[in-house]
């Protein structure tokens, strides 16, 4: 097994902020996200030989992180997101500042998306990947990513419009969602 180069280590270090951001987006939980990043770094280190220098390291790492996330989720029977993640959001304090409240609403809306849509819209709209790269990371067709992004965007618009009518937080939103569902 070839030794890991110093440059590889430096590049891994540099990628950590992005990996953490992606991990939080997937898990919706800061502690689980950091565990996931740790697993990803260990895996990346172990299989550094399969990384081709000159190709996109960030995309390679995101692929590892994503695979790790889904394999953990399968092992735990999907409790990863459903219990802890949403609990954290409910316990979150209401910040006094205007813009932050907005972002909190957005976070809540993002959390309501199915994972596949959420990861797609994050990869394209925030992490700066192309549709082709995102498709590679998620192991699916470019068209699938496009449709997931589009559905995610539509859903976010719907949710945020609902929350925009009433600014009193998650309870008001869920009451409205329930109201809509009863039609």
């Amino acid at each position: 097994m070839a030794a890991v180069s110093q440059g590889f280590k430096t590049d891994l270090l540099g990628a950590i902020p992005s990996l953490r951001a992606f991990a939080v987006s997937l898990t919706q939980n800061a502690d689980k996200a950091d565990d996931l990043v740790q697993e990803t770094l260990v895996k990346a280190w172990d299989k550094h030989e399969s990384f081709q220098p000159g190709t996109n390291l960030k995309a390679w790492l995101f692929t590892i992180l994503r695979n790790e996330f889904y394999s953990q989720m399968r092992k735990r029977g999907r409790e990863v997101q459903d219990s802890d993640g949403i609990m954290t959001a409910r316990l979150a304090v209401h910040p006094a500042q205007h813009g932050q409240l907005d972002l909190k609403d957005f976070r809540g809306a993002l959390e309501q998306l199915p994972e596949d849509q959420r990861e797609a819209i994050i990869l394209i709209g925030a992490s700066g990947f192309s549709y082709e790269e995102a498709a590679e990371i998620c192991g699916c067709a470019v068209g699938t990513i496009k449709s997931r992004v589009s559905r995610a965007r539509t859903r976010l618009q719907e949710i945020l419009k609902i929350s925009g009518e009433d600014e009193y937080g998650p309870d008001a939103i869920s009451a409205q969602v329930t109201g809509t569902a009863a039609h």
Partner: protein, 67 residues
């Protein structure tokens, strides 16, 4: 009718290149919020545990001698 659709699509493509009309671009509320959400996460301080982890991995398997 077909030509018109083509024109509209071509226009959309041009706007997309300029970042205007990009469904997740700077003119989209969702796009802006997404970036705000993500940038905040990216700029979060990285805990020491990760640098320590990489050092441990490196000690377990020393890096290549300087080339």
């Amino acid at each position: 009718m077909k030509d018109m659709t083509k024109d509209i699509l071509a226009g959309a493509e041009g706007r997309r290149r300029n970042g205007v009309g990009d469904p997740l671009g700077p003119n989209s509320e969702i796009g802006r919020k997404l970036k705000q959400y993500y940038d905040e996460l990216v700029s979060d301080d990285v805990p020491d545990r990760f640098a320590q982890l990489l050092s441990q991995l490196e000690q377990a398997e020393p890096a290549q001698k300087k080339d």
